[in-house]
Symmetry: C2
Subunit: 206 residues, 2 copies
Protein backbone atom coordinates (compact mmCIF):
# COMPACT_ATOMS: atom_id res chain seq x y z
CA UNK A 1 0.00 0.00 0.00
CA UNK A 2 1.40 3.35 -1.02
CA UNK A 3 0.91 6.03 1.57
CA UNK A 4 -0.45 9.30 0.31
CA UNK A 5 1.23 12.41 1.43
CA UNK A 6 0.05 12.91 4.98
CA UNK A 7 2.36 15.18 6.99
CA UNK A 8 4.22 13.32 9.72
CA UNK A 9 3.07 15.85 12.26
CA UNK A 10 -0.54 15.01 11.48
CA UNK A 11 0.12 11.29 11.89
CA UNK A 12 1.86 11.96 15.19
CA UNK A 13 -1.30 13.49 16.65
CA UNK A 14 -3.60 10.61 15.75
CA UNK A 15 -2.44 8.30 18.57
CA UNK A 16 -3.16 11.08 21.02
CA UNK A 17 -6.69 11.44 19.73
CA UNK A 18 -7.10 7.69 19.93
CA UNK A 19 -5.85 7.55 23.50
CA UNK A 20 -8.22 10.27 24.63
CA UNK A 21 -11.17 8.77 22.76
CA UNK A 22 -10.50 5.46 24.48
CA UNK A 23 -10.64 7.21 27.86
CA UNK A 24 -13.89 8.92 26.95
CA UNK A 25 -15.41 5.68 25.73
CA UNK A 26 -14.54 3.97 28.99
CA UNK A 27 -16.27 6.79 30.81
CA UNK A 28 -19.40 5.96 28.86
CA UNK A 29 -19.38 8.82 26.38
CA UNK A 30 -20.71 7.97 22.92
CA UNK A 31 -20.55 11.11 20.81
CA UNK A 32 -18.15 14.02 21.01
CA UNK A 33 -17.70 17.29 19.14
CA UNK A 34 -14.31 18.42 17.99
CA UNK A 35 -14.66 21.24 20.46
CA UNK A 36 -15.09 19.01 23.46
CA UNK A 37 -12.34 16.67 22.29
CA UNK A 38 -10.15 19.71 21.95
CA UNK A 39 -10.54 20.45 25.67
CA UNK A 40 -9.42 16.97 26.61
CA UNK A 41 -6.53 16.65 24.24
CA UNK A 42 -5.25 20.22 24.30
CA UNK A 43 -5.24 20.69 20.54
CA UNK A 44 -7.44 23.25 18.74
CA UNK A 45 -10.74 21.85 17.46
CA UNK A 46 -10.12 23.12 13.95
CA UNK A 47 -6.83 21.29 13.87
CA UNK A 48 -8.44 18.06 14.99
CA UNK A 49 -11.02 18.39 12.21
CA UNK A 50 -8.35 19.23 9.67
CA UNK A 51 -6.19 16.30 10.74
CA UNK A 52 -9.08 13.85 10.48
CA UNK A 53 -10.15 15.26 7.13
CA UNK A 54 -6.91 14.02 5.61
CA UNK A 55 -8.32 10.53 6.00
CA UNK A 56 -12.02 11.04 5.48
CA UNK A 57 -15.15 12.54 6.91
CA UNK A 58 -15.77 10.71 10.14
CA UNK A 59 -18.15 13.13 11.79
CA UNK A 60 -21.78 14.09 11.47
CA UNK A 61 -22.49 17.75 10.82
CA UNK A 62 -24.45 19.32 13.60
CA UNK A 63 -23.68 16.41 15.92
CA UNK A 64 -20.02 15.53 16.22
CA UNK A 65 -18.17 12.23 16.10
CA UNK A 66 -19.42 8.82 17.13
CA UNK A 67 -16.62 7.74 19.43
CA UNK A 68 -16.69 4.03 18.64
CA UNK A 69 -16.75 4.76 14.94
CA UNK A 70 -13.89 7.24 15.15
CA UNK A 71 -11.77 4.91 17.30
CA UNK A 72 -12.34 2.17 14.78
CA UNK A 73 -11.23 4.40 11.91
CA UNK A 74 -8.16 5.65 13.75
CA UNK A 75 -7.14 2.10 14.59
CA UNK A 76 -7.43 1.19 10.94
CA UNK A 77 -5.43 4.20 9.81
CA UNK A 78 -2.67 3.41 12.31
CA UNK A 79 -2.64 -0.31 11.45
CA UNK A 80 -3.67 -1.22 14.96
CA UNK A 81 -6.15 -3.93 14.02
CA UNK A 82 -3.57 -6.62 14.54
CA UNK A 83 -1.20 -7.77 17.25
CA UNK A 84 2.28 -6.36 16.74
CA UNK A 85 4.96 -8.69 18.09
CA UNK A 86 8.11 -6.93 19.26
CA UNK A 87 11.63 -7.85 20.26
CA UNK A 88 13.34 -6.14 23.15
CA UNK A 89 17.11 -6.08 23.18
CA UNK A 90 18.74 -5.29 26.50
CA UNK A 91 17.14 -6.71 29.62
CA UNK A 92 18.57 -4.45 32.30
CA UNK A 93 16.47 -2.46 34.74
CA UNK A 94 14.67 -0.54 32.04
CA UNK A 95 14.22 -3.55 29.79
CA UNK A 96 12.72 -5.54 32.65
CA UNK A 97 10.36 -2.71 33.52
CA UNK A 98 9.20 -2.56 29.93
CA UNK A 99 8.63 -6.32 29.81
CA UNK A 100 6.46 -5.98 32.89
CA UNK A 101 4.57 -2.97 31.51
CA UNK A 102 0.93 -3.89 30.90
CA UNK A 103 0.29 -0.92 28.62
CA UNK A 104 1.82 -2.54 25.54
CA UNK A 105 -0.43 -5.59 25.49
CA UNK A 106 -3.47 -3.47 26.18
CA UNK A 107 -2.89 -1.65 22.91
CA UNK A 108 -1.94 -4.69 20.89
CA UNK A 109 1.84 -4.64 21.25
CA UNK A 110 3.32 -7.87 22.47
CA UNK A 111 6.89 -8.42 23.56
CA UNK A 112 7.43 -11.77 21.89
CA UNK A 113 11.20 -12.02 22.25
CA UNK A 114 13.74 -10.69 24.74
CA UNK A 115 17.47 -10.74 24.07
CA UNK A 116 20.50 -9.96 26.20
CA UNK A 117 24.20 -10.76 26.20
CA UNK A 118 24.60 -11.23 29.95
CA UNK A 119 24.93 -14.94 30.92
CA UNK A 120 23.36 -14.13 34.27
CA UNK A 121 20.24 -12.84 32.53
CA UNK A 122 20.00 -15.25 29.60
CA UNK A 123 17.61 -18.04 30.45
CA UNK A 124 15.82 -16.19 33.21
CA UNK A 125 12.09 -15.71 32.90
CA UNK A 126 10.49 -12.31 33.19
CA UNK A 127 6.73 -11.95 33.06
CA UNK A 128 6.53 -15.20 31.15
CA UNK A 129 9.30 -14.40 28.67
CA UNK A 130 12.52 -16.42 28.74
CA UNK A 131 15.45 -14.20 27.85
CA UNK A 132 17.44 -15.50 24.89
CA UNK A 133 21.07 -14.97 23.96
CA UNK A 134 21.50 -11.96 21.68
CA UNK A 135 24.00 -14.09 19.77
CA UNK A 136 21.00 -16.06 18.53
CA UNK A 137 19.25 -12.95 17.24
CA UNK A 138 19.29 -14.09 13.64
CA UNK A 139 17.81 -17.52 14.32
CA UNK A 140 15.21 -16.10 16.66
CA UNK A 141 14.11 -13.35 14.32
CA UNK A 142 14.18 -15.61 11.28
CA UNK A 143 11.45 -17.79 12.67
CA UNK A 144 9.24 -14.90 13.64
CA UNK A 145 7.65 -12.03 11.79
CA UNK A 146 8.78 -9.39 14.25
CA UNK A 147 9.27 -6.00 12.65
CA UNK A 148 9.42 -3.74 15.71
CA UNK A 149 12.27 -3.56 18.22
CA UNK A 150 12.65 -1.90 21.59
CA UNK A 151 16.30 -1.01 21.98
CA UNK A 152 17.37 -0.83 25.61
CA UNK A 153 21.05 -1.67 25.42
CA UNK A 154 23.83 0.62 26.73
CA UNK A 155 24.65 3.59 24.52
CA UNK A 156 27.92 2.13 23.27
CA UNK A 157 26.17 -0.99 21.96
CA UNK A 158 23.16 0.75 20.47
CA UNK A 159 24.39 1.49 16.95
CA UNK A 160 25.78 -1.97 16.25
CA UNK A 161 22.77 -3.68 17.81
CA UNK A 162 20.44 -1.56 15.73
CA UNK A 163 22.32 -2.50 12.58
CA UNK A 164 22.04 -6.18 13.46
CA UNK A 165 18.31 -5.79 14.05
CA UNK A 166 17.86 -4.09 10.69
CA UNK A 167 19.89 -6.80 8.99
CA UNK A 168 17.38 -9.27 10.40
CA UNK A 169 14.26 -7.60 9.13
CA UNK A 170 13.41 -5.04 11.79
CA UNK A 171 11.70 -2.02 10.24
CA UNK A 172 10.91 0.16 13.25
CA UNK A 173 12.96 0.83 16.37
CA UNK A 174 11.94 2.49 19.58
CA UNK A 175 15.33 3.62 20.78
CA UNK A 176 15.91 4.15 24.50
CA UNK A 177 19.67 4.61 24.16
CA UNK A 178 20.86 8.21 24.50
CA UNK A 179 22.41 8.36 21.08
CA UNK A 180 21.41 9.23 17.51
CA UNK A 181 21.11 6.08 15.45
CA UNK A 182 22.32 6.11 11.89
CA UNK A 183 20.27 3.64 9.87
CA UNK A 184 19.21 3.09 6.26
CA UNK A 185 16.17 4.86 4.85
CA UNK A 186 13.04 2.85 5.27
CA UNK A 187 13.80 2.02 8.89
CA UNK A 188 11.72 4.18 11.21
CA UNK A 189 13.27 5.25 14.49
CA UNK A 190 11.61 6.95 17.43
CA UNK A 191 13.70 8.07 20.36
CA UNK A 192 12.82 8.10 24.04
CA UNK A 193 15.40 9.94 26.07
CA UNK A 194 14.20 11.36 29.37
CA UNK A 195 17.36 13.39 29.84
CA UNK A 196 16.79 15.28 26.59
CA UNK A 197 13.22 15.97 27.67
CA UNK A 198 14.36 17.22 31.07
CA UNK A 199 16.86 19.52 29.40
CA UNK A 200 14.04 21.01 27.35
CA UNK A 201 12.20 21.71 30.58
CA UNK A 202 15.07 23.29 32.49
CA UNK A 203 15.44 25.88 29.77
CA UNK A 204 12.17 27.38 30.99
CA UNK A 205 12.93 27.10 34.71
CA UNK A 206 14.15 30.64 35.49
Amino acid sequence: MVKTNIPDIVVSRLPLYLQTLNHLLREGKEVISSNELSQHVGIPAVQIRKDLSFFGGFGVKGKGYDIIHLIDNLRNILNLNQIWPMVIVGVGNLGQALIHYQGFARQGFEIALALDNNPKIIGTEIAGIVVQDVADMQAELDRSDIRIALLTVPANAAQSTAEALVANGIKAILNYAPIVLNLPDGVRVANIDPVLMLERLTYYLS
Copy 2:
Protein backbone atom coordinates in the same frame (compact mmCIF):
# COMPACT_ATOMS: atom_id res chain seq x y z
CA MET B 1 14.86 36.53 33.88
CA VAL B 2 12.47 37.13 31.01
CA LYS B 3 12.97 34.75 28.12
CA THR B 4 13.12 36.33 24.73
CA ASN B 5 11.05 34.80 22.03
CA ILE B 6 12.91 31.67 21.03
CA PRO B 7 10.70 29.15 19.27
CA ASP B 8 10.08 26.02 21.36
CA ILE B 9 11.13 23.87 18.47
CA VAL B 10 14.54 25.53 18.43
CA VAL B 11 14.95 24.97 22.16
CA SER B 12 13.97 21.35 21.74
CA ARG B 13 16.89 20.73 19.40
CA LEU B 14 19.56 22.17 21.66
CA PRO B 15 19.74 19.15 24.00
CA LEU B 16 20.32 16.96 20.98
CA TYR B 17 23.21 19.12 19.85
CA LEU B 18 24.59 19.02 23.38
CA GLN B 19 24.33 15.25 23.58
CA THR B 20 26.15 14.76 20.30
CA LEU B 21 28.83 17.31 21.15
CA ASN B 22 29.47 15.48 24.41
CA HIS B 23 29.98 12.25 22.47
CA LEU B 24 32.36 13.95 20.07
CA LEU B 25 34.31 15.52 22.91
CA ARG B 26 34.71 12.14 24.58
CA GLU B 27 36.07 10.82 21.31
CA GLY B 28 38.75 13.50 21.46
CA LYS B 29 37.40 15.88 18.87
CA GLU B 30 38.01 19.56 19.59
CA VAL B 31 36.54 21.59 16.71
CA ILE B 32 33.61 20.79 14.46
CA SER B 33 31.91 22.47 11.54
CA SER B 34 28.14 22.73 11.35
CA ASN B 35 28.37 20.43 8.37
CA GLU B 36 30.07 17.65 10.23
CA LEU B 37 27.81 18.07 13.24
CA SER B 38 24.90 17.84 10.85
CA GLN B 39 26.00 14.35 9.80
CA HIS B 40 26.06 13.15 13.38
CA VAL B 41 22.86 14.71 14.57
CA GLY B 42 20.79 14.32 11.42
CA ILE B 43 19.73 17.96 11.20
CA PRO B 44 20.71 20.27 8.31
CA ALA B 45 23.82 22.35 8.92
CA VAL B 46 22.05 25.57 8.08
CA GLN B 47 19.42 24.82 10.67
CA ILE B 48 22.03 24.14 13.33
CA ARG B 49 23.66 27.48 12.55
CA LYS B 50 20.33 29.27 12.57
CA ASP B 51 19.32 27.68 15.86
CA LEU B 52 22.58 28.66 17.52
CA SER B 53 22.41 32.18 16.12
CA PHE B 54 19.31 32.84 18.24
CA PHE B 55 21.61 32.79 21.22
CA GLY B 56 24.83 34.24 19.86
CA GLY B 57 27.73 33.65 17.56
CA PHE B 58 29.55 30.69 18.96
CA GLY B 59 31.57 29.70 15.93
CA VAL B 60 34.63 30.94 14.13
CA LYS B 61 34.22 31.74 10.46
CA GLY B 62 36.32 29.54 8.25
CA LYS B 63 36.93 27.10 11.13
CA GLY B 64 33.80 25.89 12.87
CA TYR B 65 32.86 25.52 16.52
CA ASP B 66 35.15 24.85 19.44
CA ILE B 67 33.37 21.91 21.03
CA ILE B 68 34.18 22.70 24.65
CA HIS B 69 33.14 26.29 24.17
CA LEU B 70 29.88 25.36 22.46
CA ILE B 71 29.03 22.75 25.09
CA ASP B 72 29.63 25.34 27.75
CA ASN B 73 27.33 27.81 26.06
CA LEU B 74 24.59 25.26 25.49
CA ARG B 75 24.75 24.19 29.12
CA ASN B 76 24.34 27.79 30.16
CA ILE B 77 21.43 28.38 27.83
CA LEU B 78 19.65 25.27 29.09
CA ASN B 79 20.36 26.08 32.76
CA LEU B 80 22.41 22.94 33.17
CA ASN B 81 25.19 24.47 35.23
CA GLN B 82 23.59 23.30 38.43
CA ILE B 83 22.32 20.08 39.95
CA TRP B 84 18.58 19.70 39.48
CA PRO B 85 17.00 17.72 42.29
CA MET B 86 13.90 15.79 41.28
CA VAL B 87 11.09 13.92 42.96
CA ILE B 88 9.76 10.70 41.54
CA VAL B 89 6.21 9.70 42.40
CA GLY B 90 5.32 6.08 41.82
CA VAL B 91 7.95 3.46 42.58
CA GLY B 92 6.69 0.51 40.56
CA ASN B 93 8.75 -1.30 37.96
CA LEU B 94 9.27 1.77 35.85
CA GLY B 95 9.92 4.05 38.82
CA GLN B 96 12.53 1.66 40.17
CA ALA B 97 14.22 1.42 36.79
CA LEU B 98 14.39 5.21 36.61
CA ILE B 99 15.84 5.44 40.12
CA HIS B 100 18.55 3.02 39.05
CA TYR B 101 19.21 4.84 35.78
CA GLN B 102 22.70 6.36 35.80
CA GLY B 103 22.01 8.75 32.95
CA PHE B 104 20.21 11.31 35.06
CA ALA B 105 23.07 11.93 37.49
CA ARG B 106 25.56 12.04 34.65
CA GLN B 107 23.76 15.06 33.25
CA GLY B 108 23.13 16.77 36.55
CA PHE B 109 19.68 15.45 37.38
CA GLU B 110 19.42 13.88 40.82
CA ILE B 111 16.46 11.92 42.13
CA ALA B 112 16.40 13.39 45.62
CA LEU B 113 13.04 12.10 46.76
CA ALA B 114 10.94 9.04 45.92
CA LEU B 115 7.29 8.75 46.93
CA ASP B 116 4.78 5.92 46.78
CA ASN B 117 1.52 4.96 48.47
CA ASN B 118 2.18 1.23 48.75
CA PRO B 119 3.05 0.21 52.35
CA LYS B 120 5.14 -2.64 50.97
CA ILE B 121 7.31 -0.16 49.08
CA ILE B 122 7.41 2.74 51.54
CA GLY B 123 10.58 2.51 53.61
CA THR B 124 12.44 0.31 51.18
CA GLU B 125 15.76 1.56 49.84
CA ILE B 126 16.47 1.67 46.13
CA ALA B 127 19.86 2.76 44.87
CA GLY B 128 20.39 4.66 48.10
CA ILE B 129 16.99 6.36 48.17
CA VAL B 130 14.52 5.46 50.90
CA VAL B 131 10.99 5.58 49.52
CA GLN B 132 8.73 7.93 51.46
CA ASP B 133 4.98 7.93 51.91
CA VAL B 134 3.25 10.02 49.26
CA ALA B 135 0.98 11.24 52.05
CA ASP B 136 3.99 13.19 53.30
CA MET B 137 4.51 14.89 49.96
CA GLN B 138 3.88 18.37 51.30
CA ALA B 139 6.29 18.08 54.22
CA GLU B 140 8.95 16.46 52.06
CA LEU B 141 8.71 19.01 49.28
CA ASP B 142 8.46 21.93 51.70
CA ARG B 143 11.91 21.27 53.05
CA SER B 144 13.49 20.90 49.64
CA ASP B 145 13.80 23.08 46.60
CA ILE B 146 12.67 20.45 44.16
CA ARG B 147 10.95 21.87 41.11
CA ILE B 148 10.98 18.89 38.75
CA ALA B 149 8.90 15.75 39.11
CA LEU B 150 8.95 12.40 37.36
CA LEU B 151 5.40 11.08 37.37
CA THR B 152 5.26 7.28 37.21
CA VAL B 153 1.97 6.53 38.94
CA PRO B 154 -0.89 4.58 37.32
CA ALA B 155 -2.96 6.53 34.79
CA ASN B 156 -5.95 6.89 37.08
CA ALA B 157 -3.84 8.59 39.76
CA ALA B 158 -1.83 10.81 37.44
CA GLN B 159 -4.03 13.91 37.26
CA SER B 160 -4.63 14.23 41.00
CA THR B 161 -1.00 13.46 41.81
CA ALA B 162 0.14 16.08 39.32
CA GLU B 163 -2.15 18.64 40.91
CA ALA B 164 -0.75 17.85 44.35
CA LEU B 165 2.79 18.23 43.02
CA VAL B 166 1.97 21.60 41.48
CA ALA B 167 0.32 22.73 44.72
CA ASN B 168 3.64 21.99 46.39
CA GLY B 169 5.83 23.99 44.10
CA ILE B 170 6.62 21.65 41.24
CA LYS B 171 7.08 23.60 38.00
CA ALA B 172 8.01 20.90 35.51
CA ILE B 173 6.70 17.36 35.15
CA LEU B 174 8.01 14.51 33.08
CA ASN B 175 4.83 12.50 32.73
CA TYR B 176 5.08 8.77 32.11
CA ALA B 177 1.36 8.14 32.60
CA PRO B 178 -0.59 7.53 29.38
CA ILE B 179 -2.92 10.45 29.86
CA VAL B 180 -3.06 14.14 29.01
CA LEU B 181 -2.48 16.21 32.13
CA ASN B 182 -4.50 19.35 32.63
CA LEU B 183 -2.44 21.80 34.66
CA PRO B 184 -2.21 25.56 35.16
CA ASP B 185 -0.17 27.71 32.81
CA GLY B 186 3.38 28.10 33.97
CA VAL B 187 3.76 24.40 34.70
CA ARG B 188 5.74 22.68 31.96
CA VAL B 189 4.82 19.13 31.08
CA ALA B 190 6.66 16.71 28.83
CA ASN B 191 5.14 13.34 28.07
CA ILE B 192 6.85 10.00 27.58
CA ASP B 193 4.48 7.39 26.29
CA PRO B 194 6.05 4.49 24.41
CA VAL B 195 2.69 3.25 23.18
CA LEU B 196 1.95 6.54 21.43
CA MET B 197 5.36 6.39 19.82
CA LEU B 198 4.82 2.83 18.66
CA GLU B 199 1.50 3.82 17.15
CA ARG B 200 3.25 6.52 15.17
CA LEU B 201 5.58 3.85 13.83
CA THR B 202 2.95 1.27 12.88
CA TYR B 203 1.28 3.83 10.63
CA TYR B 204 4.25 3.49 8.31
CA LEU B 205 4.52 -0.31 8.51
CA SER B 206 2.68 -1.36 5.35
